[in-house]
Symmetry: C2
């Protein structure tokens, strides 16, 4: 019985969230700001990837970063060192960001003068995929040490992503990760999705992803 109640509430929550997310996109459109929602497992390299993207894009657009975590501020501190605007969002134990929390973050960071805001979501391949944050596009990072079978196990994450980054290619030889198998599994979950193998630490391959992001931002902010 209680199981049915939970499911209904979840449907309502998701429905309300979708409405809020559409409103957020309207705000973003009006303020000519692009919001990217960046998702991955814990430790897949979201922050390091962001650091290398910032390096490539910060001279051509105004960037702000919202770091979401259950606790700590280690990531926001790292980002702040690059000179771009950075805030830390604490989710209070929540396993994902929803549109309301994202909207609060956007109000705090002050998006009006920003071209690109990146939301670094909580490290989690399940729940963040269910909640539309109001982002214009989603990117998910799969890292080599996690294995090539992740698209089989976490289907929704790969379905809601608009681009997939495969990070830590520098250590590929030490892991049983079959790049072709991974790409085929991703393609099966989300036909036509662009996949970018990179090494965030050295910057290898990041330019190709930055090109994709640059084009998406330009299309949105006009």
């Amino acid at each position: 019985m209680s199981k049915v109640e939970i499911v209904d509430l979840k449907a309502n929550v998701l429905e309300e969230n979708d409405v809020a997310a559409d409103k957020t996109r309207e705000h973003l459109k009006n303020s000519k700001t692009f919001l990217l929602n960046l998702m991955s497992s814990p430790g897949a390299g979201k922050t390091t990837t962001l650091l290398s993207i910032i390096k490539l894009l910060k001279d051509e657009m105004k960037i702000g970063i919202m770091e979401a975590d259950i606790d700590s501020d280690v990531d926001a501190v790292k980002i702040a060192e690059t000179g771009v605007r950075s805030i830390q969002l604490h989710t209070g134990g929540m396993c994902h960001l929803d549109a309301g929390m994202t909207e609060q973050g956007l109000a705090s960071i002050g998006m009006d003068d920003l071209d690109l805001v990146v939301l670094e979501n909580v490290g989690n391949l399940v729940c963040p995929a269910e909640f539309d944050t109001g982002s214009v596009k989603n990117t998910m990072i799969l890292s080599i040490p996690e294995g090539d079978d992740k698209p089989l196990k976490y289907p929704l994450m790969f379905q809601v992503a608009d681009a997939v980054i495969i990070n830590k290619i520098d250590v590929a030889e030490y892991f049983d990760f079959d790049m072709d198998k991974a790409k085929a599994a991703i393609e099966k979950r989300h036909p036509g999705i662009p996949v970018f193998p990179i090494c965030a630490k050295t910057g290898e391959g990041v330019e190709a992803y930055a090109d994709w992001l640059r084009k998406e931002v330009k299309e949105w902010i006009g």
Copy 2:
């Protein structure tokens, strides 16, 4: 408003779950079966760790493995190849196992003749930590590529764990992972918790963890 409703329901769900989990432990006690709940991020090496534990313990106790995933059966197939009883639980999109789902799994696997059942939880550092599965003990695996800052970001997971395995020590030199820093952060979250650095692939260090588990199982089943 709806936010308050969610929190209340969650509290109720967690309360109901705690009651169910205590019942599961009673069933386990009566059937002289030990249930271990194994948690980690996606790709931290739960299944490979299990394979190396099975190798060490399968001649001295009857083992059953319940593989939980949102989708796919790749892990259960790997486990079945070792000859121990193995079932796959599909969570239907759920990001964690609760006590009711675990009880269903135990009924399916048939625990009466098993000494040790391991539940491989969904790869996720957040939600599984919130739901008592009815396990006798919890173990969480942190893998080197995820980084030494995870205890700072996912506090509850380290608080509910009874032992921490640090996996993939064979690739430690390719990652900026400070073992002392990780251990100190874990100790801060959960004073006195045992920490086992291992390489699940080669079996290095697994004997020490198997000793811990063997002792816990004996204490429970008498």
